[in-house]
Amino acid sequence: MTVDRTLLGVAIFIASESVFFLAIVLAYVAYRDAGLATAKANLDIGRTAIFSIALFASSGTMALAARARSGTWLGATMALGAIFLVGQGSEYARLLGEGIGPGSALFGTTFFTLTGLHGIHVLAGLVALAALFTANLGRPRAVRAVAWEAVSFYWHFVDAVWVVVFSVVYLGTLL
């Protein structure tokens, strides 16, 4: 079995990113009790769930895009990722309007750090998607197959992190 060096590199990068997110999630969990009342009162699970579905669906469109090297499915992935970020932005605006920010109390500090860092990773993923999209638009034959797989790999990771964050932060308020 031969392993592609680019994919192995991305896999190792994702492993190190996992340690990074693990530390941030652990900090959130460590302070969960202090912020639980604020979280229960202010997080809109239903609305975030809808935007989360957009992100989860984008993993499906990404898989289709990578399999067929399809610019159309890639565009759909970017649109779904952007919808997720719009949802996150509107949630931030609402919370900040209610006086909940990174400096207001422990909940705000941990919530904005964890979801914000994830959002930055989604944004980085969108940049990678856009780069792939542009390259594919210009000279599709020059884009190596591994580029599709590598970008797809990272996008699935960003998606998987949100499964954890959504469970811990949002579904956690139901416990």
Binding site: V3, R5, L8, G9, I12, F13, A15, S16, E17, V19, F20, F21, A23, I24, A27, A30, Y31, A34, G101, P102, G103, A105, L106, G108, T109, T110, F112, T113, L117
Partner: protein, 541 residues
């Protein structure tokens, strides 16, 4: 005539500048150059500290400068000197040792180096921007929070370490993929030179440890810049969380710094003993054990915090366990020398010096793993003595061994053995004179990081001895720099294989051509060059 070429050649013959090079050898040299420069700066900071402490109630520097100097000294030596030196040698040597033309991702390699360097520059920019960080290299919260460190020093610490760490993480990805996928035909993972093994294990440690530091730095940044409460007890946060995250990085970092140096002496000792390493599998396997255990010992830095007796007992036990795989290695090296035809070159002197000094540092480490002893000497000069025996007596002597061993391969010229001996013995004497008395100072209660002390404490004489030792150490480093510069210009021509060595880097020219090897070699054992030179006595493994 300049000895340092202005250009780096590419395999096609084209020449590119040092700023644009992606050649692993050139980037290795850049890393080593960065390490040497910051080692000099960090050394000058240490001399300033020792000068201030030479006599009681001295007023050479003010307390604020002293705080900045010990903080920046620690960060510099660990992250901007030792790690780049080790990564630099790995960058240069690993592809040569495994018979590869370059690393897996040459352009990413350049990015790693430049990020590491920019991180260091950002940290030092703090001096111009209103004051360097002054909270110690581990920057404990809440001291590092905005309320207690209102200047910008800690912010530059955060940014500098995060950027430098990103470079180190990317470098570790690159080196691990290189080692896993780019070995030449016949070079099974059970045949790679031990320096390569140590680099692989170190890369895994970097990938597990550095992201935890980055996470902690981000949280501190949120606290300082967005008025967050992660480590702010007044806002419900816990200062101890910083300590957990920092030492989850900080203790593996110790092994990140010492394992590659162990790899270096594992190359040097067999070659100068004319024997294969004793127990190759144990040297490699014990490193994996060390790496595994090193993620489970971080709270031994926190015995005095008050985590509780159960936690302290567990971390005390895991810390002592690490002494076992470490001890295994000591026996491997000694057994390699026993019955060998020893050639006491400068490289070998430093390698043997490593073993002796590292044993002292290791034993004081075991003593610190005993909770009651740690409680008595925590935050004292005993700890300072211990860590310098490990990091200078261990790592730096290992790096010097590697430097004397590989300098001829990298430059085509040998370092002077005569100056090398002066360098070794002055280092050995100066080092022990500096740090051995600090064990006593710590035992009688001198706290670390104090700016001065009263004459009535009686700590004056031992401090004076320590400072004299530091001055001798400084002279030793000057001798080394003179040796580097003179040998670079007019050292004896080395040839391809001056040490009659065992591994593939010595089978190519000195310095190697841009593509490393004219043809990709094929190997059948752990000592491919030995096999080629002595087909009748070929290794069986």
């Amino acid at each position: 005539m300049t000895a340092i070429p202005l250009w780096v050649r590419r395999p096609a013959g084209e020449r590119v500048g040092w700023l644009r090079t992606v050649d692993h050898k050139a980037i290795g040299v850049l890393y080593i150059g960065m390490g040497v420069a910051f080692f000099a700066v960090g050394g000058l900071e240490a001399l300033l500290l020792r000068a201030q402490l030479a006599t009681p109630e001295a007023g050479l520097v003010d307390p604020e400068t002293f705080n900045q100097a010990f903080t920046v000294h620690g960060v510099t030596m660990i992250l901007l000197a030792v790690v780049p030196l080790l990564v630099g040698f790995a960058n240069y040597m690993v592809p040569l040792m495994i018979g590869a033309p370059d690393v897996a991702f040459p352009r990413l390699n350049a990015l790693s180096f430049w990020l590491s360097l920019v991180g260091g520059v950002v940290l030092y920019f703090s001096f111009l921007a209103g004051g360097a960080p002054d909270t110690g290299w581990f920057s404990y919260a809440p001291l590092s929070e905005r309320a207690f460190a209102p200047g910008t020093g800690v912010d530059y610490y955060i940014l500098g370490l995060a950027v430098n760490g990103a470079g180190t993480i990317i470098g570790a990805i690159n080196l691990s993929v290189t080692i896993l996928l780019m070995r030449c035909p016949g070079m099974a993972i059970s045949r790679v030179p031990l320096f390569v093994w140590m680099t692989l294990v170190t890369s895994v440690l970097i990938l597990g440890a550095y992201p935890a530091l980055t996470a902690a730095l981000v949280m501190l940044l949120v606290d300082r810049q967005l008025s967050g409460h992660f480590f702010d007890p007044a806002g419900g946060g816990q200062a101890v969380l910083w300590q957990h995250l920092f030492w989850f990085f900080g203790h593996p970092e110790v092994y990140i710094m010492v394992l590659p140096a162990m790899g270096m002496i594992s190359e040097v000792i067999p070659v100068f003993s004319r024997k294969p390493i004793f127990g190759y599998g144990f040297v490699a396997g014990s490193s994996v054990a060390i790496a595994f255990l090193s993620f489970g010992v971080w709270a031994h830095h926190m015995f005095a915090v008050g985590l509780g007796d159960t936690e302290n007992a567990i971390f005390s036990a895991t810390s002592m366990l690490i002494a076992i795989p470490t001890g295994v290695k000591i026996f491997n090296w000694i057994a390699t020398m026993i019955g060998g035809r020893l050639r006491m070159t400068t490289a070998m002197l430093f390698a043997v010096g490593f073993i002796a000094m590292f044993v002292i540092g290791g034993l004081s480490g075991v003593s610190l793993a005993v909770v009651p002893i740690d409680l008595a000497v925590t935050d004292s000069y005993y700890v300072v003595a211990h860590l310098h025996y490990v990091l200078f007596g261990g790592t730096m002597l290992g790096i010097f061994a590697g430097a004397y061993y590989w300098f001829p391969k990298m430059t085509g010229r040998l370092l002077s053995e005569r100056l090398g001996r002066w360098h070794f013995w002055l280092t050995f004497a100066g080092f022990n004179l500096t740090f051995l008395p600090q064990h006593w100072l710590g035992a009688v209660g001198m706290p670390r990081r104090v700016f001065t002390y009263a004459a009535s404490t009686g700590w004056g004489p031992l401090n004076l001895i320590s400072t004299i030792g530091a001055a001798i150490l400084a002279i030793a480093m000057v001798v080394f720099f003179v040796n580097l510069v003179r040998s670079l210009r007019s050292g004896e021509i080395a040839g391809d294989d001056p040490w009659d060595a065992f591994t593939l880097e010595w089978s190519t020219t000195s310095p190697p051509p841009p593509e490393n090897f004219a043809t990709i070699p094929a190997v059948t054992g752990r000592r491919p060059l030995w096999d080629r030179k002595h087909p009748e006595a070929r290794d069986k493994s």
